[in-house]
Symmetry: C2
Subunit: 336 residues, 2 copies
């Protein structure tokens, strides 16, 4: 079985984006009426994924995608907690419609109602709702609601602990995933996403979060940002800062995905990190959607890279299936 | 000849750090007297490098280091332009003492007096002074004086153009190098440095800076941050954003160093980017100073990695010497 652990609903029905526009308009002008979501039909929802994510999943030989709302549209930089709550609920409910329509092909991951400097309480409540009521198997956590200005405490800070306690209780992992950048200095897809991955890994290296939460699990997407490429730097920094070796300190709890869009990068990832800590993913339809002229294949058809590198069946099965079932036990339960 | 293009004076004499302490104390309390730099003797300056950078350069088979003030100590986040001017002058004058004492082993690169939101005029003046009076061959430019909050305009913005005009006129390249992080979310050495490298490359991809300044040259350190590992992502983003292919758009003007502290990372860098755009460097004494237990050698002894990978003499010579002389023509002039 081929599980893609990182897909976003980047192609929602028009009623969904219309609702968001109306919500933002009312944020700017409170005299406007409270927006109401127009109901998209099952056919509209079905078509939105059948012509996009599900089509590509099938064409590329995948079976199931772990699916969450569009990351850049989470827009956690907006300060109003009520806007964040309503938007997260709306996005998660839409993902739940996809997972209900295609239970064999999609499993849900939640967007949280985060805001810059906001309480974590709302995030905990939405996590509980999506897991217990919608059957979601994981959650996306944004380490920088400010959108590139990095005003939130590190993810090792006790600010986050109520969320971690709920994750541990529910046995769901978090993917670390920022939203749109609010600074022209850091492009959302080409800088902010990768930088967040790198920053959070370093926060974990500095802290002792998994000493306190031994079963907490994080997936760091986009191949771990800069981390595998600079693995020697991080091993050396752990030594210099008096932290334990990375393998024992972090690698029972931290996993990287394969959203690296050329074979040399995926090869380095698998070589350096090893197949026990890497989960197959494509991020489609994500940052990069075109065809690589040097190969004639889509940049984000990452299965081709993994297939070329992992010729040993047990290693391939770990990356394509076994690690995902281990990291997302609610997915395993859902499938069995 | 082996040229290390990225070394910092991280081991200055005590008089230098004492001056900085007094300067910061006076910033906090203007009633204190203006600090005066106590003169370090030539022997003290000599010893500071002979027991550190010069010793390691010799032990590892290097010949010359392109040498700049300690990056994390630039502290461009402090808002007072006068403090920034005095501190940059003091740091650059100290580097000049090293390059005067050891002209065969060190060539200077300037720290600029930058501040968050400050005018670029002071930076231009200090660049001109260090090149024309101190014989420096390059400059470090900080794309984020705020120290991790990313409030400065992208490096493609006209804010920077007076600096680029001076660089072009003087024919000196800039290394892109941030200073200390002011947010606990981004560790200086393990996140902020790498993130800045990635962010600036993406800024250049989005813009058309080298259309306007065809001879401007940037060295992006730390192996280019996350860029070579995610080369497919950047090629794909260029395509998606309607920008020219990276090779023609950026790679006549952008170079990466080899400050990547394990062999698989350096191998990917040289494989993906090619030997024409990579300059040998170690960043010593920099982020990582220990011995890699898996190899028994120093993490930052990057010459070992390059030696193991580039067995063809012309390729090795490009990375160790030829590219540096091409990117830093004032170094070539100084040596001939």
């Amino acid at each position: 079985m081929i599980i893609d652990c990182h897909g976003h609903f980047t192609t929602p029905p028009a009623t969904h984006t219309d609702f968001r526009k109306a919500q933002l308009a009312r944020s700017a002008d409170p005299d406007l009426p409270e927006p109401v979501l127009a109901h998209a039909s099952d056919d509209e929802v079905r078509e939105a994924v059948e012509t996009n994510q599900l089509r590509l999943l099938r064409e590329r030989g995948g079976d199931l995608m772990i699916f969450s709302p569009q990351a850049s549209a989470m827009e956690h930089h907006l300060p109003d907690p009520e806007v964040a709550r309503t938007w997260a609920r709306t996005c998660n409910d839409l993902v739940a419609r996809v997972t209900d329509l295609f239970p064999a092909h999609f499993a849900g991951v939640a967007q949280l109602p985060q805001t810059p400097g906001g309480e974590i309480t709302d995030a905990v409540a939405e996590l509980r709702r999506t897991v217990s009521e919608l059957g979601f198997v994981g959650v996306n956590v944004n380490p920088d609601p400010s959108g590139g200005h990095w005003t939130a405490p590190p993810m090792t800070d006790e600010y986050w602990f109520p969320l971690y306690e709920a994750m541990v209780e529910l046995d769901v992992p978090a993917m670390i995933h920022v939203s749109a950048s609010c600074t022209p200095a850091a492009h959302t897809l080409g800088a902010h996403y990768l930088n967040a991955d790198t920053s959070v890994f370093m926060q974990l290296l500095q802290g002792d979060l998994f000493g306190r939460f031994p079963t907490l699990r994080f997936v760091i997407p986009h191949g771990g940002g800069a981390v595998p490429y600079h693995w020697g730097r991080f091993r050396g920094l752990a030594d210099r800062l008096g932290r334990p070796p990375l393998a024992e300190h972090l690698m029972a709890n931290v996993f990287f995905d394969t959203c690296v869009y050329h074979e040399p990068g995926v090869r380095l990832l698998l070589d350096v990190i090893g197949t026990d800590n890497v989960l197959f993913a494509s991020e489609m339809l994500g940052a990069v959607r075109g065809v690589d002229p040097t190969t004639g294949h889509y940049f984000d058809d990452t299965k081709r890279y993994v297939d070329a590198i992992l010729t040993e069946p047990a290693a391939a099965q770990a990356v394509f299936e076994r690690n995902a079932l281990r990291v997302y036990p609610r997915l395993a339960a859902r499938l069995s």
